[in-house]
Symmetry: C2
Subunit: 324 residues, 2 copies
């Protein structure tokens, strides 16, 4: 199978123009590509174009590729037609096996043999989704974080029948189009990032359930101490740099036993009605009447400012590398 | 007991001028206070002054209080002498019960009755430390994050004999001096933030141990997706805002059962020699020969930039509040 060079892909098809699909479309447009979008909903096209217009200012702030055009969208309601010349398909249909499999059945006869189909699924098994498909080896997970046009991460997971070359090609494709793609080497529930998310949240829930701290104080502990380091260097590198010159080796040798004791003491809360009530009450206290929309737009404004800072830093680091 | 108003405290004493104590001293100096510092080590005073000089540029970037003077330090080697007029004592002696108790025994007869003693301990029990002390009700935990002159969080924990008014006073004192103080309502190993830290790290270690992802990709998942949201709004508010208009209530009702299943699937790694070897090998790959000092200074540069952004945002949010 001779597949096109990932960075030269021109024919990108988005299947499903809900929140995730529309955001993917906006992302590729900002990368200077044109996209073909398919969705069976009657008002899908106008919703899509509205989404892109709303997303464009943040994308401009984060940096548009030369020649980007928010109108470079072709809308084709019939998915079999939409994929006819596809090189890469990003599928973001509703999150059930039946819906996705039925969509794959519709496209598999018109889809070019060398096209790759990446599903945005956060919870379904790619091995199950690809079973019985025509050309199962070209199906792969490309799981974004919401919203994909803002958050750089994509998790790439191959199923039992996925061609390893398709996994590599997909990683390269995302990396050539402005994403930070990582390889999830085993199919596990939640891929990787959602597992990390719920692992932290479990102890955050335990702290509230066990009366250790309020919802607001748990958030403050992360916002004003842990979060910045995690956001800037990640959890493993945080530990490496916390140990002084000896780094992670020193940390593992000297604090390993203490950490294992702390691990044993971590909570295993259940989301009982009482625990849910405590969480909701604590969240009401924390948000203190601030309208939901205002909280969301504050988060998004901060996110864009943060990602700008991250981009500048990466550019500065590149320019100081020998040979740059 | 009529204790001085927290914001009018002028006589701050730092016991122990290691990395944490020196950083506390730099923090209070940047807040426009003078400090008295005590440490038995022969070269403690020159090390302290060197630390402050090195810390000052970052403190200037983050904003100095009017009248701040990096030289406003009085060094008194004898702790009993140092605390003679103290209103607030921050103790950062070495992390053993014996060392701290022996220091408390040295100061308890000269310490003014209404002074508060906050210990920087991350791992010892305040109930145990205060047992048998003269005036046990004035001892409390004030646990900072390293380095205290940069990271805003302080965890305040009272012991069995701590006067609840002392806990409140200490929270107010830190808040009046530029810190984000939170109340840990129960004595548990690791207070709160270190529990959250090891909870996330446990799943981060599991991902590597179980072959789900590389060390570098785990860090990337946090840096390029989860971390920014955590750093900007915290884990609970992240969940609240992820659920759309229905917020956390919707999230708990619709995703509660799925989250409990994911919780059940999270890993419980042990730090076996094999796991440690994988972590160290993965960290070597991630850092790829970049000198340790360069990694540390990059993290610190990013941290200061992040905290500046956080401060500006807080100021902007304040100025748009009704009545501001």
């Amino acid at each position: 199978m001779s597949r096109v060079e990932p960075k030269t892909v021109e024919r990108i098809v988005i299947l499903g123009a809900g929140t995730i699909g529309s955001s993917w479309a906006a992302h590729y447009l900002a990368q200077g590509k044109s996209v073909t979008v398919s969705d069976p909903a009657p008002n899908a096209e106008s919703r899509l174009r509205g989404f892109i217009d709303k997303a464009w200012p943040a994308l401009r702030t984060l940096g548009l590729a030369p020649g980007s055009d928010p109108a470079a969208v072709r809308f084709i309601p019939d998915p079999a037609e939409a994929v006819r010349e596809a090189q890469f398909v990003q599928e973001s249909a509703p999150e059930t096996v039946a819906t996705k499999v039925s969509l794959y059945q519709k496209i598999e006869r018109t889809l070019p043999e060398d096209a790759v189909v990446a599903t945005s699924t956060s919870g379904l098994s790619i091995s199950e989704l690809q079973k019985g498909r025509l050309g199962p080896e070209r199906y792969v997970v490309g799981h974004p974080f919401n919203p994909p046009h803002i958050i750089p991460l994509v998790e790439v997971v191959g199923g039992r029948q996925t061609d390893p070359a398709v996994v590599e090609w997909t990683l390269d494709f995302y990396r050539a189009h402005g994403k930070r793609a990582i390889h999830i080497r085993r199919e596990v529930p939640g891929h990787l990032a959602n597992r990390l998310q719920v692992a932290l949240w479990r102890e955050a829930v335990h702290a509230v359930a066990a009366g250790i701290a309020s919802v607001e104080d748990v958030d403050a502990a992360v916002v004003h101490a842990l979060g910045p380091r995690w956001a800037l260097v990640g959890p493993h590198l945080t530990i490496h740099l916390a140990g002084g010159e000896g780094g992670m080796r020193h940390h593992l040798e000297h604090l390993g036993p203490a950490i294992e004791e702390w691990w044993a003491d971590l909570g295993s809360p259940s989301l009982t009605p009482e625990v849910k009530a405590k969480l909701l009450e604590g969240m009401d206290e924390e948000t203190a009447g601030t309208p939901f929309d205002e909280l969301v737009s504050r988060r998004d404004r901060l996110l864009v400012a943060f990602l700008e800072m991250q981009k500048k830093e990466a550019a500065a680091a590149d320019s100081t590398r020998p040979g740059a």
